[in-house]
Symmetry: D2
Amino acid sequence: MDHAIRKNLQDCFVQQPLMRTLGAIVGSVKDGEVVIELPFHEKLTQHHGFFHAGVITTIMDNACGGAALSQMPANATVLTVEYKVNFLSPAKGDKLIARGKVLKSGRALTVCQGEVHVVLDGEEKLVATMLATMMCREMPGSSAE
Amino acid sequence: MDHAIRKNLQDCFVQQPLMRTLGAIVGSVKDGEVVIELPFHEKLTQHHGFFHAGVITTIMDNACGGAALSQMPANATVLTVEYKVNFLSPAKGDKLIARGKVLKSGRALTVCQGEVHVVLDGEEKLVATMLATMMCREMPGSSAE
Amino acid sequence: MDHAIRKNLQDCFVQQPLMRTLGAIVGSVKDGEVVIELPFHEKLTQHHGFFHAGVITTIMDNACGGAALSQMPANATVLTVEYKVNFLSPAKGDKLIARGKVLKSGRALTVCQGEVHVVLDGEEKLVATMLATMMCREMPGSSAE
Amino acid sequence: MDHAIRKNLQDCFVQQPLMRTLGAIVGSVKDGEVVIELPFHEKLTQHHGFFHAGVITTIMDNACGGAALSQMPANATVLTVEYKVNFLSPAKGDKLIARGKVLKSGRALTVCQGEVHVVLDGEEKLVATMLATMMCREMPGSSAE
């Protein structure tokens, strides 16, 4: 991946205060694929003590957005047009791992697929799956420098 | 609405640590309709300084879940099966208002519609719309008392 | 609505062979809102003898696409980016009525909401609801004439 | 796969008049995975002469429903709760191939993933992807015989 693109991508995550609020960290960044991890904290839970669906969605959205951004020009920003999430199992465990990857990259729109696994006693279990549409917007005033 | 149902519904929200983490408050609770509000805070934002899509989704999910729960037995708990969200405008403003309402209530599944408006300078603007499927699960060990 | 836009919209429906295959007819066309009707025929059914989910989706997609197209330039064509449908009741009846309307119209993308009712013994019942994203593509070689 | 389950699955497809109307045929049936094929016919097209989105959705829905049914009891019937489809490329070609597979099978609900490829000059291209929720309903009066 181009250095300017990687810098743009990391700026994008670093500039997201909500990621710090949740405690999410970027696991890995490849061309068309981004991984985000989120350690368990009681503040992230719903009424049964598991990770809240909103938290699962948030990091999966960011993993997909990052994957889309990794294939856009270095002065681009990414907007979430829409997503759909199915929740498959209760998110009970020590850590969430969200993986976003590009299914189809177009000029204006990028379609991504996301998955979140929860890690419990060293084993991963699939808890949610996402299908998302991302939009590329090039920033007129910015440059890759 | 039955007293026991209302109590169940409020317990459900009060017992959600993530709602406190975000600063969300229950605006109103009616039969089949729940409103949740969330004042702006920098910790809730994405890279442009607006409310993050994940935060918008979280409170809309809870408003829909609450609306579904308001029509379930008093010993029931509600699970989000899936949802789909379209983002219509940037969520730039002082406060989010999420409204969830029941479209169709079945024995096992309840379909809900959610909307989030952002309030800026006293005016509401629609920022996102949700279509969600909720599942009722009766808790064997619990009672309405 | 502009005459050229209305003509474009009707050309778009008339030029769709699948609509003739199903027997669907345009009920009404307004600015941002299109109604399509489909009389019952045994050839349109699933294994219980009701209208098939795919047929319900098809006319709702076209009603939403038509609604989006009604607010686009007269030389535009409309593409379905994605949709999500919830099925609320069995579609048992004499006729389907699909209503599509524009929720938010943007430069590139239009978000639409669709509903399908079934008519049985003169009464309408909601059978499905759609949330759809449509894309406008202007046709370089064509003109409003 | 159990003989009674396979019989139930094939009865379900054979009993769907819409599949005959479209000309769809079952390609293969395995445990948790069903393939449906649909040869091109002008009657299935939209305004650009390609396979209509509604047709793509219909066979993908049936492939997912069949995949879900393959893991249900032999006296069960399958209902589509909801689905979401992203359209990735124009469906221009000689044949559609829809593949549905089970992502997660639960007692009441089964989550499936579907894909449709179009075949043009012997090459497959991905045209759409689906995420669907199916519901199992056991038929009280029926038996596996």
